[in-house]
């Protein structure tokens, strides 16, 4: 069971990573006159990544609160 869960977490992480790289690439890279990342693009990628992590953490925190509230409400009912 632990192994299955661990594998799922690994896969979820890899999907999140691929998703994030794709999103930041699509947002930050719009100039294909060179094959090297410009310093402006690089800064954008770093900020995009950092901000996405902070965003996910905040969504996670609010979602956890919401679930805790829902669980309490359901226990008070029964």
């Amino acid at each position: 069971m632990t192994k299955v869960i661990e594998k799922k977490q690994m896969q979820d992480f890899l999907r999140m990573y691929a998703n994030l790289a794709e999103k930041c690439f699509n947002t930050c890279c719009n100039d294909f006159t060179s094959k090297a990342l410009s310093s402006k693009e690089e800064t954008c990628i770093m900020n995009c990544t950092e901000k996405f992590i902070k965003h996910s953490e905040r969504v996670g925190a609010r979602f956890a609160e919401y679930n805790a509230d829902a669980m309490n409400a359901s226990q008070n009912q029964s």
């Binding site: 299955v4 799922k8 902070k54 965003h55 969504v59 359901s74």
Partner: protein
């Protein structure tokens, strides 16, 4: 997973079998998928695409909090609607969408 209406049955019991494990995994997948969609949607709604900064600003933070609340509400409302249409039970649901 209160929005699935199946949370009550998932209380811990003694005796683990394959079926319960599979159900737990399906449940985990569902919550993960839900969470990922919420992250994506609220990112699109709240985060400016300029990326001049690496921190969430005040406006973005407040927007995220409200976005999570609204996203959860929408999930619940859509679930209730599907249920009232008699689509919320697994068997009947997929069948109602064309019998191929």
């Amino acid at each position: 997973m209160s929005f699935l209406g199946g949370g009550r049955g998932a209380t811990p019991t003694s005796g683990v079998n394959m079926e319960k494990i599979e159900m737990a995994i399906t449940e985990l997948d569902t919550v993960t998928d839900f969470f990922n969609r919420m992250v994506q949607s609220c990112h699109a709604k709240c985060i400016s695409a300029r990326y001049a900064d690496a921190d969430l600003n005040k406006g973005e933070s407040v927007c995220i909090d409200r976005c999570v609340a609204k996203f959860n509400d929408v999930q619940k409302k859509v679930g209730e609607k599907l249920q009232s249409r008699g689509q919320a039970n697994a068997g009947g649901a997929a069948g109602g969408f064309g019998s191929f």
